[in-house]
């Protein structure tokens, strides 16, 4: 035997156990599933070939359409939110502050909690009556109500008329405060150095926010009174109504619950961003500093382009993850209310194990596979112009 052949044989024999397992536990079910997707296959009976019937049935199955819709809506809400939150977290964790390592651990910890435990935990957090979330939300919204009530008549706004009351003259302080806080003298040496001026700036920014808040809130109450009323204490997982009600395809409160819960696990994404952030060459920042770039400019022109490959990676993983969401709805809602949290993975499970339609479930799984591949390719295609690889 030639030496090179023997060498490759040795190599292959080392990876053979893995290859066998791959073929047996992934390849076989994968291809088997493809065959079964053309069969009528109750698990206790012999699979019977029925051609494209399962796929044809898919086209007319309203529950499948709803579950695909729920999954896509969830993705549209959870992926951008998750990426943004993780990125913000990573940028914050990347600053040089005391106890940085501790913060990193704290934000990563939720990712280590098993999903089942997280789901059971959030079931309590979401309880409309006793839950922590509604407790805080109720207090917060009450505060906003009281503050806005000083300037506007909220009840009139809910009926469609924005009426300013007593203190509305104070609202004029808002623009003045904004000018004070973010005005052209912002960059003067004075504000950068003197402690007192920094304090004034902070106070001005705060009063600007406090002045803008009631205006924004009263407008929201004017245009979506029902939503704002519900925001004081949402029913979360048991509420099928959409939020905001006026927006077509808006996620239901129940789905928002699962979106909010998924933010609990962004720590892992943040850690990946963080690793890449620390890889950004410091010379670039130094050069930007010399040119007088602000923090925002540095983030926009240096940080984001350099970490864009990691953003793409996280987005692709999030897309795939979206189509695999199963544990949370299975434990928390069982797909209800009104199918508003029936994710595709749950639909597949129900078809295979509840209704004993393994063939149909296989067909859905294959369609899902194609959808994931398609969306991932789309993400790569769209990213071509926006992702920067330093190596190329």
């Amino acid at each position: 035997m030639r030496a090179s052949v023997r060498k490759s044989l040795t190599g292959y024999s080392f990876v053979l156990p893995w290859l066998i397992a791959l073929g047996l536990f992934i390849g076989f079910p994968f291809l088997g599933g493809f065959y079964f997707s053309f069969c009528d296959f109750p698990p206790l009976k012999t699979p019977m070939f029925i051609g494209l019937d399962n796929y044809a049935q898919l086209l007319h199955d309203p529950v499948f359409h709803r579950s695909l819709g729920v999954t896509l809506i969830y993705g549209a809400a959870a992926i951008p939110l998750g990426v943004l939150l993780a990125l913000t977290l990573a940028l914050l964790l990347n600053t040089r502050i005391r106890g940085q390592a501790l913060y990193r651990v704290i934000f990563f910890l939720p990712h280590l909690v098993p999903t089942v435990v997280t789901a059971l935990l959030w079931l309590w957090i979401f309880n409309p009556d006793y839950g922590l979330l509604n407790l805080f939300l109720g207090k917060l919204m009450h505060g906003v109500d009281v503050w806005t009530g000083l300037f506007f008549d909220l009840e009139a706004a809910a009926r469609g008329r924005i009426l300013p009351v007593r203190w509305s003259a104070m609202l004029a302080a808002g623009p003045v405060a904004a000018l004070l806080a973010f005005g052209p003298w912002l960059r003067s040496e004075l504000t950068k150095r003197a402690g007192l001026f920094r304090l004034v700036r902070f106070a001005a920014a705060l009063s600007c926010t406090l002045a803008v808040l009631p205006v924004l809130y009263v407008v929201m109450v004017r245009f979506m009174p029902g939503d704002m009323r519900k925001l004081h204490s949402p029913g979360w997982l048991s509420d099928a109504s959409p939020f905001p009600a006026a927006v077509p395809f808006a996620p239901s409160w129940a789905l928002w619950g699962i979106v909010v819960m998924s933010m609990w696990g962004v720590g892992q994404m943040a850690v990946i961003y963080l690793a890449k952030l620390q890889d950004v060459p410091i010379q670039l920042y130094e050069a930007a500093d010399i040119d007088g770039a602000t923090w925002i400019q540095k983030t926009r022109h240096i940080t984001l382009p350099l970490i864009s490959p990691v953003i793409l990676f996280n987005v692709v993983m999030a897309i795939i993850g979206t189509f695999q969401v199963f544990t949370e709805p299975y434990i928390m809602t069982r797909g209800g209310p009104e199918d508003k949290t029936r994710f595709v993975a749950l639909f597949i499970y129900d078809q295979a194990f509840q209704y004993q339609n393994v063939g149909y479930a296989a067909a859905v799984a294959w369609v899902l596979f194609l959808v994931i591949v398609g969306l991932t390719l789309l993400a790569f295609r769209l990213s071509r112009r926006h992702v920067y690889y330093a190596g190329r």
Binding site: P43, L44, M48, I50, A240
Partner: protein, 501 residues
Amino acid sequence: MRRVHFILAGIIAVVFCIGYFERPPKLEDFDPVRDAAFKDSWDRRIHLAYWEKWGSFERDACQAMVDAFNRSQDRIYVHYVNTSQVDRKAMLAIIGGTPPDVVGLWAQNVQPFASAGALLPLDSLMAKSGLSPERYTPQYLRIGTYDGRIYALPTTPASVALFYNRDHFKEKASELRAAGLDPERPPRTIEELDRYADVLTEFNPDGSPKRMGFLPTEPGWWNAEWGYYFGGSLYDKRTGRVTPDSSANIRAFLWLKRYAEKYGRDKLLRFRAGFGNFDSPNNAFIAGKVSMEIQGVWFPNFIRRHRPHMHFGVAPFPTARGVPGPRSFLDADVIAIPRGCRQIEAAWEFVRFAQGKGLEILCRLQGKHMPIKDPPPLFREGHPNLELAVFERVAASPYSFILPQLPVWQEYNDELGRAFDHIWDYPVPEKEIEGLSGPALDRKIAQYCRPEIVRTLGEVRKTIQHKLDLKRERDRLRRRRFGAVSRSRTGPPPEVPGTTE
């Protein structure tokens, strides 16, 4: 090949042999304390695996039944394997060719298992050992029957009735009397139930319910079956068609919707969110948040556990005026012998015991009635369930019903659940019903919701009928292609002792 290869191959062969050739079970492998009494006969006995559900005191009851069997003879030893999701595990085990010898399933499993030939028909075994089908309450026997043959026998039956809080009735006695109702007895018709509920309900200052007289969604396990209490059903056996949108079912949904609108959907949502788990002191009925509730024969066990001195009563659940009763939803856990069982005769001996003395032990310790017409004379003596008579009465009633035995029942049930959610949440403009009450409110709700209810239930009918027809068609096709049911993946039917004689 070098020596090392031989050694590796040898190890693999040994591992394979250990895995393949089953060794007889040893006493030490099991509960040594429990099993010590069987030490002498251990090796002589046939060991059977009995997969069954249950937890907590209900598991103990099942164990007591198995123990009694093991003590009653010295030929067979049954191992009670407490199994969660027993139907799915049994299904995979049967497909894999290593089924348990005896399996405890749920009523809805009988149809899919039996139609696939995964269970052994028991008729001939029953006839041989003198176990007459006549002995059983007919509905319970029907649960285990498929295509005219008996595949499973009932173990613990379920029936439901109205539980009412006597203290609440006493508290509101004068108001009830003022409304022309008798505080000493529970309601007898659904119309009366609504009136009782009205009087018993208490509100918070903000108008949200503090205590509900009756809440049809508590516990919410039978939301799809209310139509039966209005004289309807979900399936018409004569025509072979599903009937979710029959007039009785539409009436039932309208009745439900009235509760949603009368007390406010959002307010009820919040009110219900405050309920604890079923098996907890915060259970809505046990905690006194709901005065009347539909619950099952098992419920007194849980009341006793969490609030031993609660003053409650039980009565047959009311039916709509003019609908004969009493009627109750009946269900049962069943015991069966899976195809592929290697010790059919021994397994049957255990099943036979579980249908005789064992049934008595099990039902008594679980606080339930028996699924047979004439329980043994001593069964009722000192029975832990003090409300046993009510449940026995509703179970024996010819009007009581079991769920339709359809191959698409799970889908049907889920589809009805969805329809229920949809109708419950279907918005009625607040302006329209503001200030209305009594019959005027009912009329307004009916006017607004009836078309939507008819449409939704009609859609359920179309979807499910289509699926049912499809399943039937495919079963026909399968029979044509593969022959009879027994030619399934689970192999040819084994010799059933008794059939060959």
